[in-house]
Symmetry: D2
Subunit: 468 residues, 4 copies
């Protein structure tokens, strides 16, 4: 479904490199392939062994680095970068990462994907001790905890600090000496390490970013790992041994790029299997199968193949849609929405359409798309959702934190079917989703975080416990 | 295939509206859905019944109209607009259309899609009489011819002028009194007229633009027609009766948006049939069918359906690629190209891939894509092209005018197969293309211009005759 | 007085160079020092002996050439450039000069300072022959006349064309072979030729531009001259022998830069003498003399010196005022105007101020400035104007063409004194102006165009005769 | 002298308003008139009684607030703003003020003009306690000290914090309840409070900003004062009683705007008296007196009046010079410098010029200007400096902190005279400066900080003691 419309946003993508000329440009390339994970801000910190330098700003990566000199100024053989989503209206460059901390005698930079569930409590405690935070993001807490630790080495300080924070996190830390990688104890967010042909290392939220810089996969970071990459190579340690895999199922359903492999499973293929399972569970009597571009195309083709109906391009997304698009007058607003997504009349006219969408969050556009197809001449529209009903908010790194925003939490399937104007509506089952992904880890739900669908959160929620 | 890479560019898209409040904004919406037809310049001329006003510049539509005031200044109930391709390096705003001519006692604006084959000759003749041209485009010749005509009315002057020009043209002219539409005698370029719910008229290069503004199709403009839309309604006339349909086959194969209907035929469906015909003519022994995104996806799905193999997302296009992307150093260039198009390792690894592309023009990226798939683990790559061998340049509105640029004009299929590194290579036949489109007009090649493939140009080529 | 406020605008500045590496950059420097003559648009055409290339746009020179590549693309050893004033709201890049004409077999570029009085008539005649104009400026007429001439050589064609146009003009024409300079038969606009140390030639509206590029003055172009600069050197010819000097007096009073010499007379010194003559003619009983920055400071210091009173900085202009300044709400508008010009309380408090302004055109700001001084504590304000009453419009290159806009044409001195709230008001006499400038040419008014003050236009006004 | 050339930069200007609609716009106007105090960054924090909001960026004020929405978003009846100088190359938005601190339960914003002499020591101490600084500026230390104070009220916390910092400071602090103003114990920087006609208060670095918003002067803030402005009115308190006035003499000589009054003394008038005293102390045998625009014009006119010679515009500054000016090639650099400043040939030719400059810091441009005048024909150039020899760096808010940068610290007057190529060179005496300013306070040097000239620093220098 349309990113802008679904309003379901990943908090970030992270990328790091150690031991490569043009670390700045490699990070730029890596972040570019992670742009789908965050489109509101971007930044890079580079390290030349003596000094860390940064450039960051609000906007898309290519907008932030609108002049080559911005990128060229970031010299050195290692770097970390970040693309970020931030809620609209918060015009705060302070929150754009990586955050770079200049201490009198040293520097440390930080890039974070995830959400800490006890950050508010920790921040209050630190403020009471006189600490001042430079950003309003939860990410910064980690550095304050490192700073106040009395442990003798940076490595031990970091372990002490990581053991105080809760929730979901994939952290990249950069000092002049090392690139440090840490994943939370459930592995909520994907994180992979690759190797360049010259021997240098890269770390990225998704494997598509390894491909983008020509790196080959070395290791998917495991829950609880603390990995240090330096000129001495890669050292794998653990900051905790109490781990249990519970990776975000929405990464497979919606967020990740189809060409990424998460824990060895290709995302496009998993989505195709979701579509196929959905076809088995909830077949519909139709003439053609249509997916909502672009995120639902894999599931739709899987559905079509399984049910033996033609997979058709019944909807088309305008590739030139951008933020610069002029907002119309009220009366013309409906015409403006048509610019984003158009029905293909020549395809759907007179047809019974099986419309496959990857998920329903707020449900605000379902009725619109069904009507679009009817206006274009579809005689029936059967809506099939390639994931279970999304009924519980997320506290590990997705920006849906209010149950009230989730339509499936408040409406029954028949009620939603009526609201959307569809002829029928069905969702994929939880088991159908789990088997489609096929992670098969020795953990609840085969290693998936399924709390979106069943409210079974893998952790205590601390500051958010009351929001459950 | 990638627009940037194929270097095969439509010269323009045109859009006009008469009799609607917000004519400026409707034209903006219409042009936005025609952006794929030209990305180098855009402009609008609006008419409030007293005066014509214009705003135009180099760049994408949303870049040109970067501030709402640029659009808001274009007041009136009628307007014409244009999106344009122009060769790189020619930083000439003078050539961005619509061209607006301010005579001492009147104004006329012009938007043109096509290419005149005798413009050089006509321009020389006019210059010898002392005429001065404001643009270096051929489009302007028409207005000079109108201006020198001694016919008593504008209508007759236009008819006289149209009878002097040769080649391909879909012209929109705007005066304070009327919106005038003219199509060449072979109908090389598509052009359709629609009606708004309020009774106003719109004209557009493709029907997707009618959909974009909520207009319903009234008429596909026919070869030789001269249509005048004014407050008195729509009057259909002919500037010539010597007509014979020969619409550009590349519109169906590559240029037009899949949701457009050309002369009643849906473009996506036609492409799917091209893929199906290709599967019948040139089946391949493979495991999966992969299309080059985005233009070849329809053909690929048709091929897959016909041959009974899975249609897979084996290649993915980065949606955030833009012109602002920083050019890398030489050594990193290859990594930069990967940003545009990536192979989906998890899909193609270990597979025999049937790769469907819509056409081969210069052939510069075929080898690259085949290698991309092999690097991702494909064990075989069978290349199937859903159109015949492109061997002859175009002189009616596409920017390929040199035979030397066309690889199929110089290399045999086995030679190309070797160059591209594919395991096999096959093209769709001319008959396969003609039947897939299914135009069935009472004209050579069922009404298609097939000269790209067979050199059988529907007209004498005048200034270009020597380039045949 | 404030440029923005006086709304009295020079139509342009021109600059040309022949025979110098970096002709583009020299032209940029030259135009930069002529920026005061036109701030709405700028452009350069460069010639590398084979081809003429141009870049131009709306805005200040530094805004137009906002990226070095715009300037760098203009290669060659010769160039002409132009800075332009255009009426607000006319967002027309078409009118920005130099105009470059691409004929099929040649190119010619044109930069013009002045105004043709029979352009409307000539344009109509040419349009009736089918000619189409690319700009709405009068400047373009010359090239059409050259184009239709049947004379055998370009030189003779130009002479024929120049003899058809009337009014004020300083023309620079550039072809691949020569830089051609022409001045009207009265020399309404200043134009000087200089020599670079390398032997190359430069031409400029004012000598400050010669200084800016390190050139030494060779010749002030004389009325009726047609000068051709080429690789063979400089050839001086005449296009007419019926000449009589009548240079614009407002160049001395207001337009030109104080460091320029016009026909050998330094502008600052002339203004100082205007102030001194004004003190003799119209002494006032005051404590201090204050000039309106920046244009009246010379005259004010001359007045102070002559009368023996302190010359004080009683008003100050904000140097950081720019177009980007945000327009305030209505209630705050008055505070916004204070940003442009401020009274220096510490200087004027308790003082009888003699306020010297160079001229009064519309009179819109006089009352405001007098009030500003009173608010700051001035006990008396005696307004002294260092030029005669401006009562007649200009048709030779200044944008005041309506008598109704000129306050002195409609109000007596006592009426104006009351309107402005000043304690007394006096103007310099015509003789006082003529003697201050000291041109002493053998022509009426010593060679000055005094028509602003006495309506005695040196020529018949053709298209404007009725506006006298 | 030219700001860019002298490289002597004020660190900032501050402005605050309490109790006025459009506080955002008033702050914008106020900062605009303080733009000469800092041109590298600008920002505003506004307070609507519930929340503080900020917008800030690198660049000139009008560049930072390039879109009205940036300013409009800053709602509320109170605000503080800041314009800042920062060393070139440090592309750090983090240092642009006002700094806004978001604590979990409150917010505080800070704007600072000055320099703390013990900030490095304090910062180290705080970092050792785990504190993290968001900027690299010294200004931030104050908030950390407030934050760690155990005093019961914010007022007392601030007093405690102020008593720990040393050096020069004019601080504005904004909370949702009050605007707090603090000046160091020597009053190194000027700071004035005004009243709006509606009863609201404004605070500004210079009185020209009060004039800019139509406020009347209420009070010049005194050394050691801590003033709280809230809805209950203005309360004047002291954070220390150990005070002694030592206001920066360079504010009078160079920094402040001529229309400002500092401690009741008009800056232009003081400069004029410096020129007059200089004429008495060091008359020269010349024909005309010329000032270096713009900062030395007042002194030059005072010199001319006193000595009875004509004050002439012998040098002119290009008003359209901006940062956008394209950097030339090496060979053309000299021509580029001419763009900033030009000699008026018509004025200086054949003349013995007495050239008055306000001060000599690095001395880098003196030789250039003398040569400029000689090239323009001056027969003698007598250089007169309207302040004493600048031999000691500043640690209270000016960016000259290295003795090695100061030419007068290393060269004798005859040596400098030879270096500059002038015919004679004289400086104003210390007594001449003190009497010209005429502050007459009961403190050393009549209340002026004269350490630039005599090294007699009014305070111990802490972190900078070794640099004396």
């Amino acid at each position: 479904m349309l990113n802008e419309v679904k309003s379901l946003n990943e908090e970030c993508g992270v990328f790091g490199v150690w031991g490569a000329e043009n670390a700045n440009y490699l990070t730029y390339l890596g972040l570019h392939s992670l742009q789908h994970r965050g489109q509101e801000g971007a930044g890079i910190v580079a390290n030349d062994g003596k000094r860390l330098r940064t450039y960051r700003n609000l906007g898309l990566l290519t907008q932030v680095f609108s002049k080559p000199e911005f990128l060229n100024s970031l010299v050195g053989n290692s770097a970390i970068g970040h693309v970020r989503y931030s809620t609209a209206g918060e015009n705060k460059i302070e929150n754009v990462q990586p955050l770079l901390f200049d201490f009198t005698d040293s520097q440390i930079a930080l890039a974070h994907n995830g959400n800490l569930t006890n950050a508010i409590t920790l921040k209050k405690e630190l403020e009471e001790k006189g600490h001042i935070f430079k950003s309003s993001s939860d990410s910064e807490v980690l550095v304050h905890l490192i700073k106040v630790s009395n442990a003798p080495t940076l490595h031990e300080k970091i372990i002490e600090a990581l053991n105080k924070i809760q929730g979901g996190f994939a952290y990249l830390l950069l000092t002049k000496d090392a690139l440090i990688v840490a994943l939370d104890s459930h592995g909520f967010r994907p994180l992979s390490i690759g190797k360049l042909s010259n021997g240098g290392f890269v770390v990225a939220s998704e494997t598509c970013a390894l491909d983008a810089v020509g790196a080959s996969l070395v290791r998917n970071v495991q829950p609880g790992e603390l990995i240090t990459i330096s000129d001495s190579g890669m050292e794998i340690d653990h900051w905790t041994n109490k781990t249990q895999l519970a990776i975000c199922s929405m990464e497979f359903i919606y967020f990740a790029r189809p060409d990424s492999d998460i824990l060895g499973i290709n995302v496009h293929s998993a989505r195709k299997r979701m579509g196929a399972n959905l076809a088995k569970e909830a077949p519909a009597d139709g003439d053609i199968v249509v997916g909502v571009p672009n995120s639902s195309l894999s599931a739709a083709s899987g559905y079509a193949e399984e049910i033996g109906l033609p997979y058709e391009m019944g909807l088309i997304k305008n590739q030139h849609m951008g933020r610069e698009f002029i907002q119309p007058t009220k009366e013309l607003r409906e015409k403006s929405v048509r610019q984003k997504l158009a029905a293909v009349k020549g395809v759907v006219r007179g047809k019974r359409v099986i419309l496959v969408d990857d998920s329903i969050v707020r449900g605000t556009t379902c009725a619109y798309i069904v009507q679009l197809l009817r206006d274009a001449g579809a005689v029936e529209v059967h809506l099939r959702i390639a994931s279970p009903r999304f009924m519980h908010p997320c506290f590990y790194g997705i920006d849906i934190q209010e149950k009230s925003e989730l339509i499936a939490a408040h409406k029954s399937i028949p009620e939603m079917n009526q609201m959307f104007g569809s002829d029928s509506l069905e969702f994929l089952s939880e088991d159908g989703l789990i088997s489609a992904i096929g992670l098969n880890a020795d953990a609840p739900y085969s290693g998936l975080d399924m709390s979106y669908f069943n409210g079974d959160y893998p952790t205590y929620l601390y500051d958010y416990e009351s929001k459950k």
